[in-house]
């Protein structure tokens, strides 16, 4: 049955974790020892190595619900221009990915339905040298923090293992962006958060909500605190989340 190329025969969660670990290692190696201002470009180069299918890519951080955003880093001028066009026009896969908190793909910008869905962006994107673009949300706790945007010179879909890797790279970039954005409590900074990256589990979401109410913090801050505690205790975020949900761990003594 054609359910996509993801359908393997082994344990899907385990395969995902192996790929997640490979990506985290690559990104940690890329930023380890760098000063924070140098990190975005180093992250961008590492993402390009992990996603060879893309001609180029950029990472943008979204503003507060107003459709604006800033380009954090880009692998080339075309990638920068594609991001700028979308923020200027307020049209394109990237603003939609932020709004829907889901990947939005334009596999062929030279023909419908992409041309009818994004009439202005599609023309300018093709003129800039991109025939397909793929926007992946940086999924923060309860909202999109921005997007990882890939483009290709030619048309085509992003499917199967390539799609999975792209989503997992977006997850890792999300954690790095959160750490760059907040004042990370640990001196290891970005490296700490990348190491703590793991699959989103129901318990982690439940615990995030509990920390929000107990400490009066935002969802992102709550998730950062949960991860910080997991890192400090040498446990996984899921283990700490379970202890919080079971109320065997106190929330208030950070």
């Amino acid at each position: 049955m054609a359910g996509g190329d993801l359908l393997g025969s082994g344990d899907a969660d385990r395969e995902t974790e192996l790929e997640r670990t490979r990506i985290a290692r690559e990104l940690i190696a890329a930023v380890d020892g760098l000063r924070p201002p140098d990190m975005p470009d180093a992250l961008c180069r590492a993402c390009s190595r992990l996603l060879p299918l893309a001609t180029g890519l950029s990472v943008s951080v979204a503003g507060n619900n107003d459709g604006t955003g800033v380009v954090l880093c880009a692998s080339d001028d075309v990638a920068t221009r594609l991001a700028d066009i979308q923020y200027t026009l307020g049209e394109g896969p990237s603003p939609e990915a932020v709004r829907l908190r889901a990947p939005v793909f334009a596999p062929d910008l030279t023909r419908p339905p992409d041309t009818s869905r994004w009439p202005l962006f599609s023309v300018q994107a093709v003129r800039s040298g991109a025939q397909s673009v793929f926007s992946l949300p940086l999924a923060g706790a309860g909202r999109s923090l921005g997007t990882l945007d890939l483009y290709r010179e030619d048309s085509g879909s992003l499917t199967g293992p390539h799609l999975r890797t792209a989503l997992l790279v977006a997850d890792a970039v999300t954690h790095a962006v959160m750490a760059l954005d907040h004042h990370s409590p640990a001196p290891e900074g970005v490296v700490t958060w990348l190491a703590g990256a793991e699959t989103d589990r129901e318990e982690v979401h439940h615990a995030t909500g509990m920390i929000m109410v107990r400490l009066g913090v935002s969802a992102e801050e709550a998730l950062l605190r949960l991860r910080a505690r997991a890192f400090a205790q040498g446990r996984t975020a899921t283990e700490v989340a379970r202890a919080i949900v079971d109320r065997t761990m106190d929330l208030g003594d950070d």
């Binding site: 049955m1 054609a2 359910g3 996509g4 993801l6 359908l7 393997g8 025969s9 082994g10 344990d11 899907a12 969660d13 385990r14 395969e15 995902t16 790929e19 829907l100 908190r101 889901a102 990947p103 939005v104 793909f105 596999p107 339905p113 869905r117 949300p137 999924a139 706790a141 309860g142 909202r143 879909s157 799609l163 999975r164 989503l167 997992l168 997850d171 699959t199 989103d200 589990r201 129901e202 979401h205 439940h206 615990a207 995030t208 909500g209 509990m210 920390i211 929000m212 109410v213 107990r214 935002s218 969802a219 949900v245």
Partner: protein
């Protein structure tokens, strides 16, 4: 109301995606509760495949910890994953006979008090999206007619998921729809945690409190969860006395 009329109503409800209050999480909620009410089963859950890999629970008739654990052990492998991968229904008539196959599932199902399971694929044309799991406290196969009916309900819900926007969904958009619902479920889980902490309750009780609140006030579950997480709705409002 007799069963035929209940079924007819269920199909209409699952395909009524142009309704103003349409909400994909509510679609799944309706699917699992309809199946539990109409079939000889004790609990129902629906899981959808994440493009990252693994299955994510979108709705369940029971939100308690033991039941959630039963679903959690199946996210990477198990009968629901087999059903999703093959796109065909999978029956486990007696979990006691599956020790060699799925040892963790045997423990989780036994602890939660279930003996048998029927998994139904969530399909969109030829594409598999996830699986519907029907659980029973006793051993045995679900009647073949009921398996067919459950498949028809699952197919209706899958179609509803893809057709709730004015724009028709092509293959490249299926991942957008599916991941969008997974993101909405994550927000719902954060909101449930907020209610649990505020009310001093379990997450399962918090889920019921939130469901009751949106039902009484005719609100969308997805929007209410988002309002809680973005702090435009206070948890206290959800715990209001039931007069509204």
């Amino acid at each position: 109301m007799n069963r035929e009329r209940e079924l007819a109503r269920a199909f209409v409800a699952l395909s009524d995606t142009y309704a103003a209050e349409f909400d994909p999480l509510s679609l799944f909620h309706r699917l699992v509760h309809t199946c539990r009410d109409l079939f000889d089963v004790d609990a129902v859950a629906v899981m959808i495949a994440d493009a990252r890999g693994g299955l994510r629970t979108m709705a369940a008739t029971d939100e308690d910890a033991e039941f959630m654990e039963l679903l959690q052990v199946q996210t990477g492998q198990g009968p629901c994953m087999d059903c999703y991968r093959s796109g065909t229904p999978t029956s486990v008539p007696d979990i006691g006979a599956e020790h060699a196959h799925w040892p963790r599932l045997v423990t989780a199902m036994t602890t939660a008090g279930y003996r048998s399971l029927q998994a139904i694929p969530m399909r969109l044309h030829e594409r598999s999206l996830g699986g519907l799991t029907l659980l029973r406290r006793r051993a045995g196969h679900l009647a073949a007619d009921d398996v067919d009916l459950a498949q028809a309900l699952a197919d209706s819900a899958s179609l509803g998921l893809m057709h709730w926007s004015a724009e028709p969904a092509r293959a490249d958009d299926v991942v957008t729809r599916v991941q969008s619902v997974i993101a909405a479920k994550a927000t719902l889980d954060i909101a449930r945690g907020m209610i649990a902490e505020y009310a001093g309750s379990t997450v399962g009780e918090a889920a019921r409190l939130l469901d009751g609140y949106v039902t009484r006030r005719h609100l969308r579950l997805t929007e209410t969860a988002h309002a809680l997480v973005s702090r435009t709705l206070e948890p206290a409002a959800v715990l209001e006395p039931r007069t509204g």
